[in-house]
């Protein structure tokens, strides 16, 4: 290090040298002796970052990480600028994928010195190099980096609304670094336009690089305009912007940036260790930049997300929103949307004041009864008020408030990350049960109605909603690979029980609902879908029974832990017992009966499920509210048929079960979220794991 005079050191000259005081004191201290300020303990000292320890000291520079100083004005070739812009796109997508800004976007050193990169401060005396026009940096690169930072700024604002979770879905830490918060979008767009004009008119950049750079600037502009656009103001403009971005992305793919020589100055534009100079306590991690095609694919997926959002903004059936949200989790393709899209989609549905930018709580309640039963909320109120035998006023306002909160949170939760989504559902089940009991209380004040009377089924609207959430909680446990082998039989059996209750409810409601209305069509679809799903879960219960140890006491303890959401205190407050609550005692009885059941055939059960699903696929019957998501709902059915076909070689009777190799069952959520495949590869290993678990 260089030797600096004491007054040249940072902190001013109000310091005096106390080195000798330390050395003298150390000479008089006992080994192990400590001097600590009052109130400061050894334990407090343990949480200090140790300087010089590479894992903790984020500011430490080890020799191999040393690099030449960054020169913002170092002249660059057009293709090098192109490469820097592409890499900055990659880092932006890596930030969207959940990495910290300090390890991604801010590793681009131009992003940190953007305020110095103005054409007006271009230094005099730069060498004239026709191949490296100096304006490329303050005009073209600056415009692109400004666009990048502004896109990150607008995304950051959306992400910080609280719809997705900091440190779980995304990383908010800016390390005290600017994302051009104070610069207007319009200003950035002007910069991008100026850069494009300069490229096209100055003739200083040869083709193909002029085309490549213009395409990249145009792509950035379209992305920025899309992030900034109000989807409700003009949906056609929003869609146009997405299509424009797609066109520019296509051109960008056609004009790739070159692979640069290791000696290229462009490499110095990125410092993966930049976090050491930023105000960030996150330990430094060097993130590998994926091949550029993956970045373009990520931008394509972002555009797909926006496109779906645009369709959703025009979707005024809450059931369709629910379906679209579920399909994003149930179908492997497209993969889970990035947090920004999951957050902005939630904002589109509910901005904290209105639903879909124009509807109030009454509309949400109205859609609920209309989409479930085919009757309006007003007709429900009118009927109850006319027929109630109670003199006390009905709590409509309370019900409506509770329903609005529950429904808006539920729809938003469909775009949470899968783990948080499941946790939200578990918590919401109590509220859904209470909502059901309140509707029961309302209808109990009326004389008993016949099953064919639609108003008899008002509480069932909440019940079928709750049962579908219970089913999702149970089945998502497979998708998230939560269950141990021993827990799987119960989960499949319980799923079949929940579906049984759901089907019974639908049977009753179908007696009353007006034939061929949307609610009727949706209910009939649900009936077929659930019947098939049940026909798949029951044989899975039978097939996975060998995974159990039959140590009932231990299994019961595990059961109580796994299904604690069903035994919360909230249920005690309700006078109505929860429908289809998990029952371990019943399960133990059923296990015995199932093993001796001579009539049940697991393989026939899968064939039966297939026979229900295939006609739905062939006739494209996707229920009443699939709308623009019909193809994807059909794809879900196809995936279930695929699961049935992969399981067709399971035993045809329970008598064959002792010879069934349970190791053949392989759960892979990438193939199917809920059901396993039969695979001989690795069967022995899986079987041994199961046996070991059962023995311990």
């Amino acid at each position: 290090m260089q030797n600096l005079a004491i007054d040249e050191l940072p902190g001013g000259d109000n310091f005096s040298d106390v080195t000798s005081i330390f050395i003298d004191a150390a000479a008089h201290m006992e080994p192990g002796g400590l001097i600590l300020r009052e109130g400061f303990t050894l334990q407090d000292a343990m949480s200090a970052f140790e300087i010089g320890e590479p894992r903790l000291d984020s500011g430490m520079v080890v020799e191999e990480e040393e690099r030449p100083p960054f020169d913002v004005w170092a002249p660059l070739l057009p293709q090098e600028i192109c490469w820097i812009i592409d890499r900055s796109f990659s880092y932006e997508m890596l930030w969207h994928a959940g990495n910290p800004l300090a390890h991604t976007v801010f590793t681009c050193l131009y992003a940190l010195v953007i305020s110095e990169m103005h054409a007006d401060v271009l230094p005099y005396g730069l060498d004239h190099d026709a191949l490296r026009p100096p304006q490329l940096i303050p005009v073209v690169l600056r415009a692109s980096i400004c666009g990048l930072l502004k896109c990150c700024d607008l995304s950051w604002r959306e992400l910080s609304k609280g719809h997705v979770h900091d440190a779980e879905d995304w990383q908010s830490d800016k390390g005290d670094t600017s994302l051009l918060e104070g610069m207007s979008v319009q200003n950035v767009i002007i910069g991008l336009d100026v850069a494009t004009n300069w490229l096209l008119k100055s003739k200083k950049v040869p083709d193909p690089w002029v085309t490549a750079l213009v395409a990249r600037l145009n792509l950035r502009k379209a992305l920025l305009q899309t992030i900034d656009a109000n989807i409700f103001k003009s949906t056609s403009v929003f869609l146009d912007l997405i299509n424009i971005a797609r066109n520019h992305l296509k051109t960008v793919r056609t004009y790739p940036s070159p692979n640069l020589a290791p000696t290229s100055a462009a490499h110095l534009a990125f410092d993966p260790y930049i976090a050491r100079t930023l105000n960030s306590t996150v330990p430094i991690r060097v993130i590998d930049v994926p091949p550029i095609t993956e970045t373009w694919d990520a931008i394509d997926a972002l555009l797909d997300g926006w496109e779906e959002q645009q369709l959703l903004s025009q979707t005024f059936n809450v059931s369709t929103w629910e379906l679209a949200g579920n399909l994003r989790v149930w179908l492997p393709n497209p993969p889970l949307r990035i947090p920004y899209i999951r957050s902005s989609t939630q904002s589109v549905f509910y901005d904290g004041l209105l639903v879909l930018n124009k509807y109030n709580p009454t509309w949400v309640m109205d859609r609920f009864f209309f989409e479930t039963l085919g009757v309006s909320y007003q007709s429900v109120i009118q009927f109850v008020e006319q027929n109630t035998q109670s003199t006390r006023p009905q709590p409509w306002a309370d019900l409506q408030r509770g329903h609005f909160k529950l429904m808006t949170e539920y729809i938003r939760a469909l775009w949470y990350n899968p783990c948080r989504r499941r946790r939200y559902f578990m918590k919401a089940l109590v509220d859904l049960h209470i909502y059901y009991t309140r509707l029961m209380a309302v209808t109990s004040t009326m004389p008993d109605l016949q099953s064919t009377h639609i108003m008899k089924h008002i509480p069932a609207c909440a019940l079928v909603w709750r049962l579908s959430v219970v089913r999702e909680v149970v089945l998502s446990g497979f998708q998230l690979e939560l269950y141990t082998s021993e827990e799987k039989p119960f989960a499949y059996w319980y799923a079949s029980q929940v579906i049984e209750a759901h089907l019974a409810c639908l049977d009753d409601m179908l007696l009353a609902v007006q034939p061929d209305c949307l609610a009727d069509r949706e209910m009939r679809f649900q009936h077929s879908f659930l019947t098939a799903l049940q026909a798949m879960t029951i044989p899975m219960f039978a097939l996975s029974m060998p995974l159990m140890s039959f140590a009932w006491q231990q299994m019961h303890a595990n059961f109580l832990r796994r299904y604690k959401w069903a035994f919360g205190r909230g249920y005690d407050l309700s006078s109505v017992p929860a429908v289809a609550a998990p029952d371990f005692d019943n399960f133990t009885n059923v296990c015995g009966r199932m093993l001796q059941d001579e009539t049940f055939s697991p393989s026939d059960s899968f064939k039966f499920a297939q026979s229900i699903l295939t006609p739905l696929i062939e006739s494209r019957s996707a229920g009443g509210y699939a709308g623009l998501w019909t193809d994807e709902r059909i794809q879900l059915l196809r995936n279930l048929v695929g699961a049935c076909q992969r399981l067709q070689d399971v035993p045809s009777s329970m008598a064959e079960m002792p010879s069934f190799d349970v190791g053949l069952l392989k759960w892979d959520p990438q193939i199917n979220p809920w059901f396993p495949v039969l695979e001989s590869e690795g069967a022995e290993r899986r079987r041994n794991v199961h046996v070991r678990r059962a023995e311990t």
Binding site: P10, A25, H28, I35, L36, D44, A48, I51, G59, T277
Partner: protein, 75 residues
């Protein structure tokens, strides 16, 4: 037995507790923070510390690094 009286040199060091210290380490960084404690090998504990670099990567505004321990061998 009366408590052992700390030598005057140690007392002088204790007087520095809670004062702002500026410590230069061998890799060229300078830390300014509130002195919280030390031990016989002179590991130094600083609170509310700012890290400064000097030379080409200079950061005149510093970087907040909070509570740090500077090993006796580094300072």
């Amino acid at each position: 037995m009366p408590p052992a009286v700390a030598p005057a040199a140690v007392e002088r060091l204790k007087d520095l507790l809670c004062e702002n210290l500026r410590v230069t380490v061998t890799d060229g960084r300078v830390f300014i923070g509130s002195f919280a404690g030390t031990d016989q090998p002179l590991n130094i504990l600083l609170l509310n510390t700012d890290e400064f670099r000097i030379g080409p990567d200079e950061n005149p505004d510093g970087r907040y690094v909070g509570q740090i321990l500077i090993p006796g061998s580094s300072s």
